[in-house]
Symmetry: C2
Subunit: 289 residues, 2 copies
């Protein structure tokens, strides 16, 4: 995993515009927002799915970086004062604190454009029709019926008493859509997999994505700001419904465990060597930060 993380960090460094190219301040801020931090959960999932499918790692670099650009843009925009108004991210001042709000807005906008540029300018599949499908997968996962839509539901739910299905609906969009897309895009860098295998991988991605968020809610409650590298206890302070506020800590942990088992079960009938995917489900659910 450390090897993939280092590899993706290097690829991001290459794909992001140099801070010496105009507009320098914007490029500097884009690099600040993306480089040198984060678990790289989405790249790890893309690599694990891609390796299972026998994909060329150079293609997985591109897909991993596109996913990370989308993820980083969403963090920069979510941290803005008009949204979650947060000052700490990955142990550093958030982008709008380090630079300014207008720059942070443009950083997010530019990172989203860069993600699609990456998917379009590199060959990612032997079949260009599959590659076009990959662009669509990322666009849908990031858009109003995916991640951005989940964020809108999140905003609307502050102070609301959500039901468990409503909370799940929010997180399947806000966090789940892009995690699921990570698995889907990694797998599609090879044309070796059958539709049934892609279907099982997709179910795995869905379970891991939801489990990831349940664990996030648990950690927000149980961990310290220093460990998380972002402000802890913020959900409760902001009066946001979470799995912990809805189920309590014990049942939230049990739910994460259930989802981890369901993710493993999805891998069982997959055929081939799914060890990396299996380990990753454990890593993402059993993590401490």
């Amino acid at each position: 995993m450390a090897k993939v993380q280092a590899r993706v960090e290097a690829a991001l460094g290459r794909f992001l515009p140099s801070a010496s190219i105009a507009p320098q301040r914007l490029h500097d801020a884009m690099r600040y927002a993306v480089l040198g931090g984060g678990k790289r959960a989405r790249p790890l999932l893309a690599f694990a799915a891609g390796e299972f499918a026998g994909a060329d790692p150079a293609r997985l670099d591109v897909v991993a970086c596109a996913l990370e650009c989308i993820h980083a843009y969403s963090l920069v925009h979510d941290d803005l004062p008009c949204m979650d108004n947060d000052v700490l991210r990955r142990g550093k001042p958030t982008c709008h604190v380090e630079f300014d709000e207008a720059t942070a807005l443009l950083v997010g906008d530019s990172l989203q454009a860069l993600a699609f540029q990456l998917l379009a300018e590199h060959r990612l599949s032997d079949d260009p029709v599959v590659q076009m499908e990959m662009v669509k997968i990322l666009a849908v996962a990031g858009g109003s019926r995916g991640m951005a839509g989940g964020q809108a539901i999140d905003l609307a739910s502050v102070g609301q008493a959500l039901s468990l299905p409503e909370l799940e609906h929010m997180h399947i969009h806000k966090t789940g859509a892009l995690i699921r897309a990570s698995v889907a895009l990694g797998a599609r860098c090879s044309t070796a997999l059958a539709p049934a295998q892609l279907g099982r991988l997709d179910h795995y991605g869905k379970c891991v994505g939801l489990a990831f968020q349940v664990v996030d809610d648990v950690l927000d409650q149980e961990s310290s700001t220093a460990t998380l590298g972002k402000t802890a206890g913020k959900d409760a302070a902001d009066n946001k419904p979470t799995y912990v506020s809805l189920l309590g800590l014990t049942r939230a942990k049990a739910l994460a465990e259930e989802l981890r088992e369901e993710a493993h079960a999805a891998l069982t009938g997959l055929g081939g060597n799914a060890r990396r995917l299996s380990e990753l489900a454990d890593f993402l659910v059993l993590r401490k930060f």
Copy 2:
């Protein structure tokens, strides 16, 4: 032109998610930001270039809507308080005034994603490799070395005494990149054109794009808020360098005229019937709002 505008309006209405689909408020705000207004300059250019190339109008609908989604997202984000802080757009309250800042932020993010979704989910070229190139053209035009980068240069130039080349550099990015992409994308909906023809069209797009901005600067100075549908005189009030502040009204108008002639000249050697493109250069430069 009215026919194309009506056609694009109808297509946008179909392609934008219905306000009855969750998250409703976000979808409602996306429709508010895009529908019912604007000159649709970019769609008109895409249609004119596409018709010249003999492209299927159904393909041009898609490209026109993708361009308009990118343009509308940039207006919504530019109008935010941390950017230009404007309250009036297309004769209506800006998106963050009508809804709220967080929603306006997500509207922009979602519209950008939708633009790429549209380019990916419809067949736009007989050659999928050309279609992938179209995705790249839009991504580059919208990103940090295109429109978003131009906006960053714009922010940095408030209160600065720019030279004419510096001002041109800013506008070639901020406004010019997407206008140029409009011509390029429309033309690529057909595979009929030769590289030399695409090169001439690109030069036409570049001239029209810059002329468009010079005229914008003139109108910002000469027109009323009621005529423009947006706050007039704002550039001077915000201490922004413009063609008018740099050259004065007379020389700015002469520059627009020169660029219009250069656009016509680019069409001269093009072959075929370029009447629509020619008329459009006149329309966009001689407009009064």
